[in-house]
């Protein structure tokens, strides 16, 4: 079992490595993609600088906390889109019968399918996240916590996309649901927690768990709270398990296809 996990991990890393090599074939595009993503993210901070010049506290957040929030949102997005880019195209993979080549390999189908390519610009998001951490206040403790939440958040974002995409095994055109779900997760991730009230507040801690990916980590990094920390861990494990469960349940309904497909 341990050996199997080790081998699976090795293949996943190798897959990511080869996908990265592919992206690096054109150096100029590779570097500009990363730099422009950092600049793109930085441009959003300008509006917050303007807002905080008028008010010290918005929705219970200081300017520094907003920076940290943006940092976590960017790094979790970057982590997930870099390592698991194909989780965001999984519904297309399922609908067009592109799982065949992974199904004949003695490895985990889901992991093989979602680690088959990387998104270059996500490296920019990832780096941007850590730049924000440095501005917020670097310490070993903050660095470890930030990295931990990046990984947990990345896994949650990926799991959500996998769960929604797996609906393709049952319904056609579920890609619309996937796109909506994924964009809700990002668009609800970068505002101070305090501005959300009522139903939206409940939603961001349950069905659209942007709160667990972004707001709880900011709270823990501002003032450590073991209970909240455990909630993040339990939620991450539950969602990952659910993603595997639903995907494998759906896989039994997989119908393949005879489309001409190339791994490019």
């Amino acid at each position: 079992m341990l050996m199997e996990v080790k081998n699976q991990f090795k293949i996943t890393l190798l897959s990511v490595k080869y996908a990265l090599v592919r992206e690096m074939l054109n150096k100029t595009t590779f570097i500009t993609n990363i730099l422009f993503m950092i600049l793109n993210n930085a441009s959003f901070i300008i509006q917050w600088i303007v807002l905080y010049s008028l008010k010290d506290n918005i929705g219970g957040y200081t300017f520094n906390q907003v920076l940290l929030l943006w940092g976590i949102a960017a790094s979790t997005y970057g982590f997930s889109h870099f390592f698991f880019k194909n989780a965001y195209y999984l519904s297309d993979t399922i609908n067009n019968g592109k799982l065949d080549s992974f199904l004949v390999q003695p490895k985990n189908v889901l992991l093989s399918a979602i680690t088959n390519s990387v998104e270059t610009s996500a490296i920019g998001d990832f780096i941007y996240g850590y730049i924000m951490l440095f501005i917020f206040g670097f310490s070993i403790k903050n660095f470890i916590l930030f990295t931990f939440f990046t990984i947990c958040g990345g896994f949650i974002l990926t799991s959500i996309s996998v769960i929604l995409s797996s609906l393709s095994f049952w319904f056609n055109k579920s890609d619309i649901i996937v796109d909506t779900g994924n964009s809700l997760m990002t668009s609800l991730a970068t505002y101070p927690d305090g501005i959300f009230k009522g139903i939206v507040k409940i939603l961001i801690y349950t069905l659209i768990p942007a709160g667990i990916v972004n707001y709880i980590p900011v709270e823990i990094m501002t003032e450590f709270n073991i209970n909240l920390f455990l909630i993040v861990i339990i939620f991450t494990i539950t969602l990952i398990s659910l993603a595997f469960l639903i995907f494998y349940k759906g896989l039994k309904r997989y119908s393949s296809s005879n489309l001409m497909v190339a791994r490019i």
Partner: protein
């Protein structure tokens, strides 16, 4: 010993029906209608160790669906499959270590990597120690003549070279059974011949059992000793190539260049295929008339040149397909 054992295998697909136009689309939202397609209907067969078997049929006959069930890609609706005593439905990973698959229409290799790197990647997928993979690559490089392009990125290879690499990649883990789904699709005759030689070598050197689907009669004729024909999801013929030819080759084609014109219009057992005056092409049904009788009718003294041949295998097979349709 049976390597592949299939019993009463069936697979159905549910397809949503939609009437034409926007109205039809709206209707299908509120009142969806489905049609069940029986892609594979209750088929049974066995394949022995070391066999090269042709699994053929017209488009949409159920070939790919069957091959996909045998390799664990699709779940059957009913029936039993054992490949090397492993059930693809429940032990997909275990089976994957033992079988190789090449889908001519689908590419498994990373196109930006060289065949060498791809082979190493496949070695890692099958948990083969690096030293053994290196040894295997060396062996294949010589055996399958890959030297020339083993370090060229796959995207720069010709289709033939690419397919050759696809097949070699599927052999890295020394599979006991190799499933080839139209491996020669889109290849020129020389490359097709190369691929066939490669398949023969695999079967001879490594005793690999080969399960082949192809529309290319040349593949079937030159490689396989046994043929299974599937049509409309059912097996319509499971026989040796020899028997197939023997039973279906009861017609001979006689082409003759004549000194004088001959009239064979009302002869029983003879069908005139082409009559251009002095050049005649006839089909002789040897159950009704022997070839020698047919030649006698032409009058041997009257013949300048003659050619007697079998009905091409391609025609035999398309006739079987057509008979099923009726």
């Amino acid at each position: 010993m049976s390597i592949i054992k299939v019993e009463k295998l069936s697979k159905t697909f549910k397809v949503k029906l939609k009437e034409k136009g926007l109205k039809g689309s709206l209707k299908s939202i509120f009142k969806p209608r489905y049609k069940t397609i029986n892609a594979v209907k209750n088929i049974s067969f066995e394949v022995e160790k070391g066999e090269i078997i042709a699994f053929i049929g017209p488009n949409g006959a159920g070939k790919s669906t069957t091959i996909k069930m045998l390799t664990g890609i699709l779940y059957p609706n009913s029936g039993n499959i054992k490949v090397l005593d492993i059930d693809p439905k429940t032990e997909r990973k275990k089976l994957a270590y033992q079988i190789g698959t090449v889908f001519g229409q689908k590419e498994q290799l990373w196109t930006h990597l060289t065949p060498y790197d791809n082979f190493k990647f496949f070695g890692a997928i099958y948990d083969i120690p690096e030293s053994r993979v290196e040894k295997k690559i060396e062996e294949f490089k010589e055996l399958f003549e890959l030297e020339e392009f083993i370090n060229t990125p796959v995207r720069n290879l010709s289709l033939g070279q690419r397919i050759r690499c696809e097949i070699v990649a599927s052999l890295i883990h020394e599979p006991k059974v190799l499933f080839l789904d139209e491996p020669t699709i889109g290849l020129d005759p020389v490359v097709k011949e190369n691929i066939r030689t490669l398949i023969k070598i695999m079967n001879k050197e490594y005793k690999t059992t080969i399960f082949l689907t192809s529309h290319d009669i040349g593949d079937i004729e030159k490689l396989c000793k046994r043929v299974i024909i599937i049509n409309n999801g059912k097996i319509v013929l499971d026989d040796s190539m020899e028997n197939l030819k023997y039973h279906y080759l009861n017609k001979k084609i006689v082409e003759a260049k004549m000194k004088e014109k001959v009239n064979l219009d009302d002869e029983d057992g003879i069908t005139i295929l082409k009559d251009k005056g002095y050049n005649l092409k006839i089909e002789v049904d040897i159950t009704k008339k022997s070839v020698s009788d047919a030649i006698k009718l032409l009058n041997p003294d009257n013949i300048i040149d003659i050619n007697i041949s079998n009905t091409p295998l391609e025609d035999i097979i398309s006739n079987i397909y057509k008979e099923e349709k009726k």
